[in-house]
């Protein structure tokens, strides 16, 4: 019965299906087909026999990873960096969107928006290069500023204490404006009559935000939060890798960079895929739990 109904929609809405076809194909080719390589994590990779030919090793590589002396450090660093990025980085675009929404002069608002979007388009390599130059205690402008206000001689990129704040703050600076777009879109769907009537009732700006804007944003916030939970262990590889140096390595070595060092540099393909798979598994558990909680609490959920 239901299949018949589904086929009916295909027939009826074939234009829509056609339009979505390229997207489906992309997802299938790039996200589903490679999944077959996952079995590499359970096998001893043998080049001459291909992906599926190696000897079956079961959970050997997972065990090797969990027993590895780096395991606890890697997990801690990955969690810390991801959590810090989410907890501090997540609210930032919401606040920015609420602020931008309050700006009345259109020209000024547009200019503001463009300014905060721009950093998003800087490539990671260039960005890290800029960080290196700006934060250098000898020659950088931030280094000089810190010296001027009496913070002394600190190399922000070369200390295990300052690495995470530097990472998170530079991340917010880069992406906050861009991420606020979606919230601005949500805000633009608020019925203007609501604002008008709230003004008549004597609401001030703060109250408009509190009682109109914020509730309008809530579903978007929840969905995006669930999505970001799924990425809790997949911290951005490139930026961390580029920012790594011997001095911040105790806090900057995360699962992604370790997988790279093992898999690509040391040719331990099976081991690296086991670590990668482990990482994905934990992401999935997080995503699923957050989704379940949110469904119970607020009736908003992904699935």
């Amino acid at each position: 019965m239901r299949t018949a109904a589904k086929l009916g929609t295909v027939k009826r809405d074939y234009q829509l299906w056609l339009m979505i076809l390229p997207a489906l194909a992309t997802i299938f080719i790039f996200n589903y087909i490679p999944m077959y390589g996952v079995q590499l994590a359970f096998r001893d990779y043998d080049f001459s026999k291909g992906l599926t030919g190696g000897e079956w090793k079961g959970l050997f590589y997972f065990q090797q990873f969990i027993e590895s002396y780096l395991f606890s450090d890697l997990m801690r660093n990955t969690f810390l960096i991801s959590l810090a990025t989410i907890i501090i980085g997540f609210p930032a675009p919401i606040i920015l969107a609420l602020v931008l929404n309050q700006i009345r002069r259109k020209a000024f608002k547009n200019m503001m928006q463009t300014t905060v979007y721009l950093p998003h388009f800087i490539s990671v390599i260039v960005l890290v290069g800029m960080l290196n130059v700006l934060l250098s205690p000898e020659t950088g402008i931030v280094g000089h500023l810190m010296k001027a206000i009496g913070l002394g001689h600190i190399n922000l990129l070369a200390s295990s204490n300052t690495f995470i704040p530097t990472y998170v703050i530079s991340d917010i600076w880069q992406h906050c404006g861009w991420n606020s777009i979606i919230y601005l879109a949500a805000l633009s769907s608020v019925d203007p009559q609501l604002y008008d009537s709230s003004k008549i009732d004597g609401a001030n700006r703060w109250q408009t935000i509190r009682y109109i804007d914020f509730p309008a944003l809530m579903p978007t916030i929840v969905i995006l939060f669930i999505l970001s939970m799924g990425g809790i262990l997949s911290t951005g590889f490139e930026k961390i890798f580029l920012m790594q140096n011997a001095l911040n390595l105790p806090v900057s070595e995360v699962i992604a960079t370790y997988v790279y060092k093992m898999g690509i540099v040391s040719n331990q393909f099976s081991y690296a895929s086991a670590i990668g798979l482990f990482n994905t598994l934990i992401n999935f558990i997080f995503l699923y739990t957050m989704n379940a909680i949110s469904r119970r609490v607020s009736d908003t959920s992904l699935f």
């Binding site: 997207a23 080049f47 590895s68 093992m262």
Partner: protein, 540 residues
Amino acid sequence: MKKQIITMLSLLVAGTTLLAACSGSNEGSASDPGGSAGQSGSKVKLTGVIVKHPLTKPLAEMEWLQQIEEAAGVDIQWQEITADWGQKKGTMLASGDVPDLFVGPNVITDADFAQFKGLFQDMSELIEGAPNVQKMFEEKPETKQISTQRDGQIYGLAKYQRFWPDTVNRQYINQTWLDNLGLEMPTTWDELYDVLVAFKEKDANGNGDPNDEIPMDWSGGIGGFFNPAVLLGGMGIKLSSDVSGQGYFVEDGKVKNFLTDARYKELVMFLNKLYKAGLINPEVFTHDYTKLQAVARGEGDIAKVGFTWGWVASDRFGEQLAPQYASMSPLKSSSSYSGPVSWSYDSYTLNYGANNIVMSAKTKNKEAAMRFINELYKPEIGIQVLFGSIGPNIEDKGNGSYAVLPPKDAKMDPGTWKWTSTWADNGAFYISDSIDLTLGKDMQEVLTQSEPLKEALAQVDSQIDIYPGTFVKYTNEDNNAMSLNNTNIMNLANTTFAKWVTKGGIEAEWDAYVKESQKAGLDKNVEIMQKYYDEFVSKL
């Protein structure tokens, strides 16, 4: 407003999808037009990858290379790689889409041969058609040993470059600064400390600014070339860069690792003392190579760095400042130390190389590829691969004697010119001991600046005191185990070393660190290497 945003969003989504789709397939296709054109005088088309120095000019402009391609009847389409080969290699090999020839220093490692079975050509039979390679094997049996796997296959050919000194590292101090301040050349660590303090506190370079001197600098990290690990020689540790990059060395017939040795602890404490006193460049662990190089080259006649390590003075400090620096003898760890002092012995690493040219098993015309390799290993070609073409770079003086010419551009140092003109040390070649070649100024400089180290190096028995890393062939299993362990060991060593030098705390953390290193597999690796060392020594 709403509409605008939605339009914009959908455009963006479409844009990113397109981008994602494109970036998925950026792997260049190494097309193989095939060796089918081998007959009737027309040239055989081959493909090759070369890992070359970023300065090196395009291969198409190298006269000697055009000549031997002509002589071998091949036309090689080269892919020239100057950076990140280690990363590119993994993906290239895993895809199986490989060129016919690979050239570079250890361009494909023994570990890769083990991992990618069947991808590379066993050349042991083809060598019959390569008299020049055979000649090298006869004249220098070591090269055969280096090229041959445990089971007798030859996947990669060695190189021999003959002229290189016994060590990679030379230790430099600014003699002008010593003279300016009326100081003696230091001979122990403590004296070095005092000298560096004087460099820092007084205006050693005499430009009126007492704060712009950097007493000591190196390129960060521990182990490998040009860094403080060589100071361990002051306590009698005989290093060899074959394996000392990961801390291994041999002492009294036992393979050991200095990373968990009490003497290393002493060294780190000394470096921490220097760092605390502000004698080491504060950016030592974060600056990159270009910056390191730029700092040491100072400003005009004003030097900035007092004490450091390098290959030759002209390369490390530039032609203008090089005369200010003196090459030093190894320093004793303390005035009370009475044992022998040593230095890093790297003759094997410098003069021999493993797997400098490798052939793919998929090559359609293997004979043609071998013809090319044979041409490459001709003695008269060898010097050109190393120093540049006869004509612009090398003078042919007749009677089989040659001389390396000075750079055409007077501003360029000879070392840089060599790297610019030809494959240089990254090539695959053989220079027979019988060929008569007068070296260039830079090589003579290296040999002169190695003089102060001669005494220390002379007491190294290269056969017993040095781990024969260049000659040893591991089994697949050992190779894999060692590479995994070494990645972990160095991860730990690099972070703790940087931390201990800059912040101290080694005394409190030492025991835990030694335990961690063992967990990371250090003992296992020492055990494996001991096995191979014993086997090697027993055959002497």
